[in-house]
Amino acid sequence: MKIKITAAILLSMLFTVSCTDLDEQLYDQVEDGNFGNTTKEIDALVGGGYSSLRGFSDAISNNFPTCEYVFFLNEVVSDEATIPTRGTNWYDGGQYQDAQKHTWKADNRMILSAWRYNYTGIAKINAIIYQINKSSLTEKAKEPIFAELKALRAYYYYNLLDLFGNVPIVTNFEDTDLPTNSTRKQVYDFVEKELTDAIPYLNPNVVYSKLTRNVAYAILARLYLNSEAFIGVARWQDCIDTCQKITGYSLTPDFFANFVTENQGSSEIIFAIPYDSKAGTVGNYMNSMSCHYNQKLAISPVGNYPWSANGMCAQPGVYSSFADTDKRKKCMLEGDQINLATGSVIMMDNGEPLTYTENLTSLEDAKENEGVRLAKYEMKAGEQWERDHDFVLIRYSEILMMQAECFVRLGSPDLAKPFLQQVTARAGEEMPTTIDLAFIDQELLKEFTFEGRRRTDNIRFGTFFEPWWSKGTTEKYRAIFPIPSTVLTTNKNLKQNPGY
């Protein structure tokens, strides 16, 4: 009987010590309510807004929306770059062929990536604003932080205005109602107002990679430059006036100093996305997406260079449009690629030499070696898969070119000359006696090759709608992209852009 009693006591003890608490206990993460109370924590939150610029990769968009792919959408639909199908490779459901032919549909995953890149950034910034708003900071202390975050958000909205036009405007993290479209004009006005409101609070100095007053002016200048294309109202003078408020930058004597591995010291870079292999930043692999698999032997004698995918290249005609004297021509690889170990031409797996040609057999069936390749950013032996060069978004030469273009458009080409002079001189080129829009257009191509902005220029100059290599005439509605089909299925409040 004693045993039974002992056993019974033991059993009942099990009951009394047991726990019925179902609250989740966090160990390696923190609930949002418990964060944002110290300066360090605030810095770590705001930092998240900037890190969103690098984009992300996930299973939904198989074109990883790390930033360079998003910006590359602007290149592959332009007159500058293309992603041809090479045998089986790079067909991928025809999405790149569609981009080249201007026959893209709403289910194109490159377009989805661009949408998600920008809205993920926006949602993150909204969440950060919400988080900081809950913190113990005084309202006065919050003001400059909010101004910086809102200006950064306006940059994302500027991209959406350019790419998609009629997009929903969402600014409140707590609002989870499914939004409706705003008109392109409303988005335009929103971007202008957000930037203008933020400018007084923004840092007036040159601070690398942060959204300073200069960066806000540069985005605003882009907005005015494209105002006619966006909303049908030309604002060339506003663009010039805004550009003139940007101070503290100068062109680097060497064009390629902006694209070396450690390019963060450049006096010309106004806004950039920092990358660092030691910081584990993911993305920025454009060189690898372009070069042939065996290009590594031209970079390191033992092939110590990350994997390459043999994809994107320049459209036929782009390379030859550069004068041989133009120093910027080196941003592309053409001709025989030399094996550093043997000193002879690298051989491809099929036994043919690796010689990049400007012309391609066709968009649908290009050979492995066809197309000149992107080599604007430095490629170094021993480079890690995580790259070290920062991705340049806005350079001072763009500010110069914007003013030059506006003066030409306002009928004063002579006033454009001092600005153009700086850009062409550095490239080792002569400036023509008469400056016209055609020259400006060509100069923009050469100065900003593969920098993720060519489509916008093509649309502003109207060339976007003309036929070019492997593309016929483009209808006007394609000046903006369709809203991605999966976004429309999940949010029935949204209307598709006209024409799609």
Partner: protein
């Protein structure tokens, strides 16, 4: 959690807890005042096995009891009276009670059929006689489990239970299997049944070794599994391990085997390649001069062995069993394999005058060591030009540039992957009988599972190693499940009424944690992964650690009533509270009810007695849940650090950003499955037994990571409960003693299953989706972002969706049908031309086994098959590419196929993957020894001797996830999304194995 909710929940639980406790104490105190003389004893059948459920009546009174599942009974009787011990199908026996004896062991004479019906079946927190079952439960005894070269315990059930599919996606000894009962119930959550070992729920099945298993009960319908509530939806596999049985015995089992690859893809040999090049005048094709069969170059003959030694000892009131086993299964791909050392100790002890208290303890432990291989070698072995030598003239690995062109032998050889897993399960169980009819059980257990891994890719290793300048990594991850359970069983027989009831409580706490570190850039390769500090190249994400916790609190109850063994009723209810569930759904209730009628016991059936031994009709309904798909913390709004770093231009340093991680979903809850089951059990001519089941189940609140609109959501996806899925099917199990003779016996068993699955719904007012694209082809050349399957309303999971081919045109281009069924060229296709191209769900699954004995010889054969399922032969699709030659190899058949179009997904590459596999064939001879029934058995066994199939790939048995076997071995998952039924270069070949073995049983 708001405090009001917390309080009411706590109050609720406290009330339930106190009630159970009070009842328990009440019964306990009542028993203290009982006064009469008590006798006890055990009832055995004629072969010495204990008989549960035998009835004991004090002659001339209504005083009586029945034996428990250990055949034990105790009863208050008057001194000098007699008891009558009876059991269905046995002769009743009378025993006189004397003053000085209180222990009575009784042996009854009974026939074989009745024995099958008294088999006890684990039903969760107790056992039930097979004859009293009301739910759909299949039992497999130790003798019927699959034997062979087994490195993963679930393999013992392959083909043995109707409706239970065990799919082993590869022949890699380190890879696990996928277990699906009745078609599975979930899109994203686990579809694996809950594993219960000796009453401990939710453990890793591999903690138990096949040789330690006494029997396996598979709980199939919801009326049986609802007692496991939110974890019961995929069925429950209850494993009972061997424990000390009466007597002393020492058993040794040993076997050694040779495994080899029977079937490779027929690719061009070097000479065939040269012939092709000559015929086609390909002047610039490079001939590297060798004759290499790249598939053979990565393969080896696998030599495996296993040894098990066990000691068993049982006395009247105590017993123990220990076993130690070692296995070393080599893989047929070089360097792969699995080595395992495992041990098991279990013991029990009765205490008290009437053996009223029983202590049970068990300890299982094992250590696995294996070397994962990189599954990317298979694609490379298919790609490489057969004229390339494995080694160059200097004896180094041939290195040909090109990222899908690397030397697979070099990949296998030049990297180190050392993994080790430790598993431990221990429990201590106490049963206390009180007031004759009650048994209280307390069971505490701990399961611990840890994996540590070391990786080194030296600076000369082509993939990753070179660019990193040597790369080393160590990782460690573990989890611990601590469980406490307390339950009370009540059982009472009054005349022909039999009542039993159960009430209980359980608490489970799961803690997982781990850490890892990696570095690149080593000056010397001498350290391997043993000196991470020597690497100079490190990044922010190179060290990490994590920890998380979840708990599950449950209350459950069951009531059984039967009348005269003819009318049987069961009802259960479980209430589960889980920390993983969202704020608004912390608790779930899972009820069930079932009934059975033993028609054959009715008076009016007396005319059929001659041939119909048993006929029982069962019907059951229940609701069960699945909470595995919800990870921890998914319902919360969380900030975390990832590799989310930002640059500070002032200090020129990098810091870590804190960012919101997920869209929180406070409504997150378990998936719930309602299931109706109707079954018949029958026995004919004292030779044939079987059962037939029909079920219909509907799963609601399916979890899926939905694409949510951005804006307004933070990230593009969110885990939510939205869809509905149905599974309907029939199952047949048959067992026949075809010949029962003195010398010759022939027994056969058959299982058949048929299941029809359909997605009923995918949207609700908040989350909308018309179709989910799945079966990703990402990673195949030219197929980035492409999908081969859909998940859509009206279709089963794994439905291939694409263009229908119309054969080759005159130029060898594949043509297609458009929506109007007109033949068109590829360029004319539009999305609307896509259609249903069949699905991966089999129409029929079959398991068959036969055993023959002739004197001392025995012969066993078993096989299984799946029929009617489709598979995408993506390997073939990619290899039949006209762009491959001469640089890459192609299948022999490509040269005669005439295909000139580049690979494109369509039903041209979808094949019927029906197959039947001869699983094992064994011949044994038993040599009886003179000493106390000791014996030696010697055997020869063949495994996977043949497969009958029309499938053109290497093996038609394709995993339900393309990454099956890949994740298992710790190698990177190349697909990202689940891709069931897709054969894409991931075919670790299944070996054909011949083994010889020896079983030695020494009794004392």
């Amino acid at each position: 959690m708001n405090s009001k909710n917390t309080k009411s929940v706590l109050h609720q639980m406290w009330t339930a807890k106190s009630a159970v406790l009070m009842i328990f104490m009440l019964f306990l105190s009542a028993s203290l005042f009982a006064q009469t003389k008590k006798i006890s004893g055990t009832v055995y059948d004629n072969t010495g096995n204990v008989l549960p459920g035998a009835s004991i009546i004090e002659v001339g009174t209504k005083n009586g009891t029945t034996t428990d599942f250990d055949g034990k009974f105790s009863l208050q009787v008057a001194v000098g009276s007699a008891i009558e011990v009876s059991f269905i199908g046995s002769t009743t026996q009378k025993v006189q009670i004397t003053a000085n004896t209180s222990n009575y062991d009784v042996r009854l004479q009974n026939d074989g059929y009745a024995l099958a019906e008294v088999q006890v079946v684990s039903v969760g927190y107790g056992k039930v006689k097979k004859s009293d079952l009301t739910g759909a439960i299949s039992t497999v005894g130790a003798d019927d489990l699959v034997k062979g070269t087994i490195s993963s315990t679930e393999q013992v059930l392959q083909g043995k239970v109707a409706g239970l599919n065990i799919i082993r996606p590869s022949g890699d000894p380190a890879a696990g299997s996928t277990i699906r009962l009745r078609g599975g119930t979930s899109l994203t959550a686990s579809n694996s049944p809950l594993i219960v070992v000796d009453g401990i729920a939710g453990v890793d099945i591999n903690v138990v070794q096949p040789s330690d298993i006494k029997s396996v009960d598979v709980l199939k319908d919801a009326s049986a599994t609802a007692i496991y509530g939110s974890r019961g939806a995929n069925g429950v596999i209850m494993i009972t391990t061997k424990s000390g049985t009466k007597g002393v015995s020492v058993v040794y089992n040993g076997q050694t085997s040779v495994g080899y690859v029977n079937d490779n893809l027929d690719l061009l040999s070097a000479n065939q390649w040269r012939g092709y090049v000559r015929q086609n005048g390909l002047a610039d094709a490079v001939d590297y001069g060798a004759n290499t069969n790249w598939q053979k170059a990565i393969e080896q003959t696998a030599i495996s062995q296993s040894h098990t030694l066990s000691i068993n000892s049982g006395k009247a009131d105590s017993g123990f069993r220990t076993s130690l086993s070692y296995l070393n299964n080599e893989g047929v791909i070089k360097r792969s394999g699995l080595e395992r050392l495992s041990g098991n100790v279990s013991a029990y002890q009765y205490l008290g005058d009437n053996k009223d208290v029983k202590f049970d303890t068990g300890l299982f432990a094992n250590i696995d060591k294996w070397h994962p291989i990189d599954y990317r070698i298979f694609e490379r072995a298919y790609n490489l030009n057969p004229t390339i030598p494995v080694y160059d003239s200097e004896g180094n690995f041939t290195s040909v540039a090109g990222n899908i062109y690397q030397n697979p032998v070099e990949i296998l050889t030049n990297r180190t992957f050392d993994n080790e897993r430790h598993r431990l399960l221990g429990y201590f169980k106490t049963d206390v009988k009180f007031l004759n009819d009650f048994t209280a059980t307390a069971n505490i257990s701990l399961e611990h599972n840890a994996v540590k891994a070391g990786t080194y890719k030296p600076s000369y290793a082509v993939m990753e190693g070179q660019t990193e300048g040597g790369f080393a990594q160590r990782t460690y991850g573990e989890y611990t499940n601590a469980q406490g359970e307390l339950y009370v069983n009540y059982s009472k027989t009054i005349d022909k009424h039999n009542i039993s009831a159960l009430a209980g409580y359980s608490y489970l706490e799961n803690i997982y944690q781990g850490f890892g570190a990696q570095r690149g850039g080593f000056v010397t390769d001498a350290f391997g992964y043993n000196n991470l500090g020597a690497g100079y190249n490190y990044r922010l994400g190179d060290v990490y650690s994590y920890k998380g916790k979840s708990n599950l609190v449950s209350f459950y109850a069951r009531a059984n009533y039967s009348y005269d063994g003819k009318y049987l009723l069961t009802a259960t209810v479980r209430r589960d509270g889980s920390s993983r569930f969202g704020e608004n759904n912390k608790w779930g209730t899972f009820p069930s009810a079932s009934a059975a009628w033993r028609v054959s016991n009715e008076e009016f059936m007396s005319s059929t007695k001659g041939w119909l031994d048993n006929l029982k009709v069962r019907v059951g309904y229940g609701v069960t849940g699945n909470q595995d798909g919800i990870g921890e913390y998914k319902s919360l709004s969380i900030l975390g650090v990832g590799n989310d770093s930002y640059y500070d231009p002032i200090t020129k340093t990098w810091s870590l950003a804190y960012s919101p991680k997920q869209n929180p979903n406070p409504d997150l809850k378990w998936e719930s499955t309602e299931q109706i089951n109707v079954g018949f059990d029958f026995g004919l001519f004292n030779r044939i037994t079987g059962s037939f089941e029909y079920y219909s189940k509907k799963t609601k609140d399916l979890l899926y990571t939905y694409e949510v609109p951005q804006p307004p959501y933070l990230v593009g996806t969110m885990l939510a409960n939205v869809g509905e899925m149905s599974n309907k099917g029939v199952e047949l199990t048959l067992n026949a003693d075809i010949i029962k003779g003195d010398k010759f016996n022939w027994n056969a068993n058959l299982t058949l299953g048929h299941n029809v699955q359909k997605i009923e719904k995918l949207s609700n007012p908040t989350y909308k989706t018309d179709v989910i694209y799945s079966g990703s082809l990402h990673g195949l050349a030219g197929m980035s972002g492409q999908y081969s399957q859909i998940i859509a309303e009206g279709y089963p999971v794994g439905t291939f969706w694409g263009f229908k081919n119309a054969g080759l045109d005159a130029d060898g281009k594949i043509q297609y049908y458009n929506a109007a069924n007109e033949v068109v060229a590829e360029s004319a296709l539009v999305d609307a031309d896509k259609r249903d191209l069949g699905n991966i769900q089999p129409d029929l699954t079959l398991g068959i086994g036969m055993n023959f004995t002739y004197g001392n010889f025995d012969l066993g054969v078993s096989g299984y098959g799946m029929f009617g399922q489709k598979a995408l032969n993506a390997t073939n699709m990619m290899l039949n590419d006209p762009n491959r030659l001469p640089a890459f190899n192609v299948p022999d058949s490509f040269l005669s196929s005439g295909i000139t179009s580049a690979p494109k997904y369509s039903d041209y590459w979808i094949e019927d993957a029906s197959f039947f596999r001869l699983q094992t064939l064994s011949i044994g001879y038993t040599l009886p020894l003179k000493y106390k029934k000791s014996k030696v058995r010697m055997f020869v066994m063949g495994e996977n001797l043949f497969v009958i199939t029309g499938y053109k790939g290497v093996d038609p048995e394709i995993g339900l996830n393309a990454q099956d076997g890949i994740n298992q071995t710790g190698v990177m998952d190349q697909t990202g999304l689940a891709a069931p039924g897709i054969d894409r270069y991931n075919n670790y070949p299944r070996p054909t194995t011949i083994s010889v073995g020896l079983n030695f049983t020494l009794n004392n």
